[in-house]
Symmetry: C2
Subunit: 383 residues, 2 copies
């Protein structure tokens, strides 16, 4: 499609002739890509047989022609698979404003269909990468009423990442039989607990898509009661797979050298905790301090202070791991504190805890540092 | 105070024994610095005689001790100047969480007072710099009813810059006689038209202060009618000086190689135009593309799309200078457009115009690119 010497087109297909129960959450960006519109429309019926995904070209801001090309991609795949065109979903990622070329899709389709196999996940994970440096995969098993289910997924994403509904390209499949309502419910909640808690650069993509397919090959009586124990167990495992994938995305963020957890507690409500956490997590000054291994807590406090959340400075405490560096409106001074903080800042994974002292609500965001390589990668992405 | 081999303490003092009519706008950061609190309190009376400003230590997040030290700085200056302590304002900029050392203030005060002179602005502008590479000064003359007035100001600021009321340290003086109400009115409007339109990194400082002193040495009958022609003329010239200083700040932004104007028009209202403009102006992906001289318009459109402002993609147009690159939801394709866009991206100053096609409101934000040097400067600021 765009890259040479590597895979950049992936086909995911259910063995089940009738296809899967399917759910998805998508970007809230006003300029959503053509394949996102296609998926939103087709998922209204909550069923899908296959997903065709390409890397390198986003098919976003491409007008009517882009829409036609997205739907042509689905048609080409459906003909090769012998299923209705409407049962094929399409996902794209890459440069905005360029049209996808259909020739390579036509040319590659026979090989793609022939190569379909149960253990092809790693190839698919690799084929959807853009600036990612590693493929991202996660899976979990779940035993329920004597039956065993699997939930497995792949993700791509490393820049233009900020939570707003769902993020990036994420495809998750399970052999569990679940009703469309149950799948929808846990897909939304799972996205909220995972991809909606991460940021790399605060930039929400035009192409963010999380699609979950449930084929029912496990043969269980379909899970239909949202509040039942089976549904809850399914939801928890799905969320854990999504969470695993989302953390992998932050760890492979463009130029990132560190994974930073920003845990805000003691907030008046969850929304204000979220707002403080993301203001800190997206602050260029906070992120460069982490890159420089400089325990510059003042920047974290200053970022929290500009979040438009009402704060009482005297009640705020700030911890690096378990080390308190700021309390009661003043720094916890001393060479010992500074030495310990510097030590913590050398770690690859750092937990920042900011307690607002105002209530019981909390929110944890995951972010990374801002390095020379982020600038390097993004100053020359198109060329 | 902190730096060696350069000035880092500035004293600004009115010749007028009674001092000046004074107004100020300050950061909205919840963790505002001790000197900001001091200024806010003292400016309730709308009068001031002098400003003592230091660079290197922000005196923010420093608790009760910090407040005492800010007020001690004012007292030390007032004793040397022979004026009431309450008539001296204090401003600080630099590292958060460190206490200012009063010894150098005491030691330097006789020299500072002795060096007071009408043409010392450049030294003062230099003494308040932190990561700034050039001093920032602006002045304008104004002829009104046969009299001539001067408005002159200095500013510092280069990182942790985002608009929220006022930004950075800015001190402006005029010999015009104006009433406190008139000065307040035009100070607020001037800040809104200048410093509230710029961003470097979206991080609002704990120490942002804009202080305007009007000494009345021109001997005019005080301007007291806010809506009168003299007041309006004064307000316009004050705004132009502030605007000049604010653009100088963006041009000297940490690591910046380009000045970018983001002019959003055709918005339903000013607030939504502002929101779109700043979302684009703060986007790391947009800013790195400018650094890389890559006319990647897709990132600008994507940033606008995530601004939470309701947009109709088909109505949006995007221009680089006068070159239309996106219209009616699709790119204006062609090698010629690409070549011209690339040429524009080599300029040091670039105007981006985004028309939303929804109404008559507009807002223009000024920003800069995000370079290796921004990361370098901020990965090692404290050390």
């Amino acid at each position: 499609m765009r890259y040479t010497g590597r895979l950049d087109l992936a086909l995911i297909c259910a063995e089940n002739p009738a296809g899967c129960v399917a759910s998805g959450v998508f970007t809230r960006n006003a300029f959503c890509a053509a394949p996102v519109e296609l998926c939103r429309e087709r998922l209204e019926k909550r069923r899908a047989k296959a997903i065709l995904a390409n890397a390198g070209i986003a098919n976003a801001c491409t007008g009517e022609d882009g829409k036609i090309r997205a739907s042509e991609m689905a048609r080409i795949a459906s003909e090769a698979l012998g299923c209705p065109a409407a049962s094929v979903l399409v996902s794209s990622t890459g440069v905005i404003g360029t049209q996808v070329d259909l020739d390579p899709v036509v040319r590659s389709m026979p090989r793609l269909v022939k190569a379909l196999r149960p253990h092809g996940w790693q190839d698919a994970a690799r084929a959807i990468m853009t600036t990612d440096t590693v493929e991202k995969m996660a899976s979990a098993r779940l035993d329920l009423g004597g039956r065993s289910f699997t939930i497995g997924g792949i993700a791509k994403g490393s820049g233009m990442i900020a939570p707003d509904m769902a993020t990036l390209l994420v495809f998750v499949c399970t052999d569990a039989a679940v009703s469309p309502e149950v799948l929808d419910h846990w897909t939304r909640i799972g996205a909220d607990k995972s991809f909606n808690c991460i940021t790399v650069d605060g930039d929400t993509s035009t192409n963010d898509s999380l699609i979950v397919l449930a084929g029912g090959a496990a043969g269980n009586p379909p899970i239909t009661d949202i509040d039942g124990p089976e549904s809850r167990a399914f939801g928890e495992v799905l969320a854990s797979v999504l969470r695993d994938l989302s953390i992998q995305v932050v760890m492979d963020a463009e130029g990132a050298t560190k994974l930073i957890e920003i845990a805000v507690s003691g907030a008046a409500d969850r929304e204000s905790a979220r707002q403080v956490a993301f203001t800190v997590a997206n602050s260029p000054l906070v992120k460069t301090a982490f890159f420089g291994q400089d325990a510059n807590w003042g920047r974290i406090v200053a970022a929290a202070g500009r979040s438009h959340v009402r704060l009482i400075p005297e009640r705020v405490s700030l911890f690096f791991e378990d080390l308190c560096v700021f309390k009661g409106g003043t720094p916890v001074l001393g060479e010992e504190t500074e030495r310990k903080a510097s030590e913590i800042f050398k770690h690859k994974e750092i937990r920042v805890r900011l307690d607002l002292g105002l209530g019981d609500a909390s929110f944890t965001a995951y972010t990374c540092d801002l390095s020379f390589d982020y600038v390097k990668i993004n100053a020359s992405y198109r060329s």
